[in-house]
């Protein structure tokens, strides 16, 4: 029997999977809604997307805070020993960039909303402040940036998933067990 290796904390695991679902769901809604003609459905999806985006922003901040207070378990020595230098660099760069985008993508969406003159009222109840003034011309310019950054995040997620699957099915090093929900 293999000795148990240190896992992510239960909180980190819960936040990881909750945010995975929320982020991919928001991306799917975002990609779908922007092509719709104006309708109540489009309006509804835009607002749901914004509410989810703010939730993702807050949960990502919480997650970052948790990560700083509870450092992730280091890569097991037997795994790290087999990784070339570029893989180790890519491993850290991907995680770092994903965290940047977890925060920047929702913030750009929020900024776009404010600039376009459609402030966010979280869950239809809590009006959020506009941290940038209404500027419809600038809004038009930054709207695609929100999308491009989201696609960049999607590409990083794809890379992250591909690497995880490689560890699981090619290297068979059991690395995924550190982030698997449930008991070790």
């Amino acid at each position: 029997m293999k000795p148990l290796e240190p896992r992510y904390t239960a909180t980190a695991i819960a936040l990881h999977w909750l945010l995975a679902v929320a982020i991919l769901g928001s991306m799917a809604v975002g990609a779908y809604m922007s092509g719709l003609a104006l309708s109540p459905l489009k309006l509804k999806l835009y607002n749901w997307h914004k509410w989810a985006g703010i939730a993702i922003l807050l949960l990502s901040l919480l997650r970052l805070g948790w990560r700083l207070a509870h450092r992730p378990p280091p890569l097991p020595v037997r795994v790290e020993a087999t990784m070339p230098g570029w893989q180790r660099a890519a491993h850290h760069a991907t995680h770092g960039l994903m965290y940047v985008l977890f925060l920047v993508v929702p913030l750009m969406g929020w900024a776009y909303s404010s600039m376009a003159g459609f402030p966010i009222v979280w869950f239809g109840v809590l009006p959020l402040p506009d941290f940038v003034p209404v500027d419809k011309e600038l809004a038009r310019l930054i709207k695609p940036v929100h999308g491009w950054l989201a696609y960049t995040l999607l590409a990083l997620i794809a890379l992250h998933v591909a690497a995880a699957l490689k560890h699981q099915f090619i290297d068979r090093d059991g690395l995924l067990a550190r982030m698997r929900p449930g008991r070790p």
Binding site: S39, P40, K44, N47, G117, F118, P119, V121, K136
Partner: protein, 192 residues
């Protein structure tokens, strides 16, 4: 003869002077650039504001005899904009203002009452999209000489006028209440 003529003129002049102020028609005022008619509607709780870019008014106002004042508005419904091209394209359509069939919304006053302190109550009929509703609007007039700024706001129910019909009639998406605010820069008001 000359004396008689002079006397007649004098009598006529005296009569005019005597009856003048009380019976004078309120002078027609002119709408100046900078006047604004705006509205705020709520979409899923989000306040979305817009303006009507084209409107005209016929205002005859006499501060000394407010009851003789008359206010009429004609608003070009196709000029509604919230500054979002996608939405602006929808507004003149049949579900919203149906501008092809009802190019103008209007307000016609029936009574103007002074409340004191430059405040007035203007009652009348608001007609949008062929639907007529009685409306009473509080107006504040800040007058300087014959120029002035009339401002105020009121809330209407958009479904009274079928603005946002069909699938848009759902008030959980777009609230029924729409707040209308106006600020009118006026010239040619009767002397205060």
């Amino acid at each position: 003869m000359k004396t008689l003529a002079t006397a007649l003129i004098a009598v006529a002049a005296a009569a005019t002077l005597a009856t003048g102020p009380a019976c004078a028609q309120a002078t027609p005022a002119k709408l100046l650039p900078g006047s604004e008619i705006a509205f705020v509607s709520k979409q899923l709780g989000v306040p979305v504001s817009g303006v009507f870019k084209r409107f005209d008014a016929q205002i005859a106002f006499d501060a000394r005899n407010p009851a003789a004042s008359k206010v009429a508005f004609m608003i070009d419904t196709a000029s509604a904009t919230i500054g979002d091209p996608d939405t602006d394209r929808e507004l003149p359509k049949a579900e919203w203002f149906a501008s092809a069939k009802f190019p103008q919304a209007s307000f016609q006053s029936s009574a103007v009452k002074a409340l004191g302190g430059g405040r007035y109550e203007v009652a009348g009929t608001l007609t949008i999209k062929g639907a007529r509703r009685a409306l009473s609007v509080p107006v504040t007039l800040a007058q300087a000489g014959t120029n002035g700024t009339a401002s105020g706001s009121f809330t209407l129910k958009r479904l009274d006028f079928r603005i946002g019909d069909g699938e848009w009639a759902d008030t959980s998406m777009v609230a029924d209440e729409v707040q209308v605010t106006f600020k009118l820069a006026l010239a040619g008001l009767g002397a205060p």
